[in-house]
């Protein structure tokens, strides 16, 4: 059960996971933005601050931030550091993200092999969508 505590923006990275650390970091920030824990225009720690706080290499954090910037989730201001993108810029593209169908196909394929029914899957999707507090500008 996900706690409904506001202000819960704790990053947890599994160092010996198969998923690379920068990818875990990027994913958690994206989820944070979508679930409203990171608000648009909210400032993020600098690369050095975050790397020090996690005890990991600055290059790893740099890679995550570059990826996020490239994908449009954050902007990097030379003076103020990294910030979550504003609503306007993030939803500038009305197309869904490039690989959405590709990623969903893999997930749904695995799910159906494991015997997950369509209705179960839809329920799960509904629950997850309910957590997403992000409201793009109309």
């Amino acid at each position: 059960m996900v706690s409904e505590v506001r202000n819960r923006m704790v990053i947890s990275l599994q160092l010996d996971s198969e998923t690379p650390i920068y990818e875990q970091l990027r994913n958690q920030i994206v989820i944070g933005i979508a679930t409203g824990q990171l608000e648009p225009m909210e400032r993020l720690p600098t690369v050095r601050q975050l790397a020090e706080d996690l005890g990991i290499n600055t290059m790893t954090v740099n890679k995550a931030y570059s990826l996020l910037k490239q994908e449009g989730y954050i902007v990097i201001d030379r003076r103020h550091g990294a910030k979550v993108s504003s609503r306007a810029s993030a939803s500038a593209e009305s197309q869904p993200p490039a690989r959405l169908e590709e990623q969903l196909q893999l997930i749904i394929a695995q799910a159906s092999i494991h015997g997950v029914k369509r209705s179960q899957f839809d329920d799960l999707c509904n629950r997850i969508f309910a957590r997403m507090k992000y409201e793009p500008q109309p």
Binding site: R8, I11, P45, E52, D53, G55
Partner: protein, 466 residues
Amino acid sequence: MFVTFTLIHLVTILILYSAMWATYRPQARYRNGMLFAVTLPAHAMEHPALVNIQSRFKRQFMQVSLWMGAAVIPLVAMNAWKDYEGFSFIYFFLWLAVFLFVIVVPFRRAFRATLALKREQEWFVGKKNVVHSDLRVARLKNAKSAPIGLFVIPLAMSVGTLLWAMSEDETYAGIAYVGILTTFVFLLVSFYMRRTKAKVYSENSDINLSLNQARRRSLSYMWLMVAIVENLHFPLVYLFIQEDNASLAGVWLAAAVLFSAIPVVILILTYRRIHAREQEVLSQDGQAIYSDDDEYWANGFTYHNPYDRAVFVPKRVGIGETVNTATLTGKMIAWGSIGLVAATIIVVSFLLIRSELTSPTLTLTADRQVEIDYPMYNYDFSLADIEQLDLVDQVPKGFKTNGESKSNVARGKFSLNGLGATRLYIYKNNPPYIRMKLKSTYIFYNDQDPERTKQLYAQLRNSMQP
């Protein structure tokens, strides 16, 4: 001298005992989610095997303390026996080394036993190899800390002390340089403390932020305060060295004790306040975040984590930070400290032994030069430099500025009442003494055999006749 040595030894031993008891004895209780520096869930404390481990530790700790206490008796005996006085320091160093090694043995045993039980019972507390960071805290953790710029105050004090020392008597300006160096050390500590990781206390970001900011605020002002207090100490030390007044020794001793004790008290009080604040806030908030790091705390009190780039991490045992020996800087600090202590002990022991086995010699050469030979304090001068030559029965009191002073001998540079700068090469309480007055210094010299001293005096007297 017996009193002085015994005081030096006993005070050091008492401080060591207090520190070890205050640090290791409380590890037998379950606090901060840990027992013997092993993270355990609260329900694990009900397991009966743990009670055995706890009582065995307490018993062994007491035994080691008592046995090492008994081992102090030979030390006191050596101090009382004049012939062995110098060697008593060698025994003292040995005792220190043994003590530091054995006093942690009961703890390490208890740590390993607890860890083994934990693994067997699978009492894991959080996942392994997981790191956490609260994004808001990572950005704002130092926001309420003392600005580093405030260090300009203690730095100005130490530079001021240096300027004052240079203007008065440059010989002892070294003290002021040490003052500047010490202030820089505190500045560096304060600076690096800002870069240590924030602690993720709970899932509630507001709590994380306020606790981390409060902790860093307390610590940053603490280091500033300690730097300022120590900068009051250095000018006082300099003043005392300057004064020719040996009777102030009691005052100076009191000041030395105070200025060592005050920072310790400030540190302990600050950390206790931080801890109390944490306990109070967290007891109301039930969302703690755990991570299981045990495998990196190999001995319970040492940290070795190759996946962690941080050099300083909070200690599990005691207060303050310890180094990550998997980092290069951490290794240098750990081995450097040990190396420094070992080198100091070896050098001092060597000097002590040599001093026990060597005596000064005074030679009058064919070309009217006087040569006094003694390791590190050789002094040569021309016979013509002697303004006044006497045979006296007493040497005035004073204090040592650079040399060796034991209960039976004094060799080196001293500052004596009424005479000022004096070089001594004497066997104490063994008149007569040859007293020579030179332009810049006095010299007192005698031989262990009073007859030999008189002969030497006669020789000098005769040579001085035109």
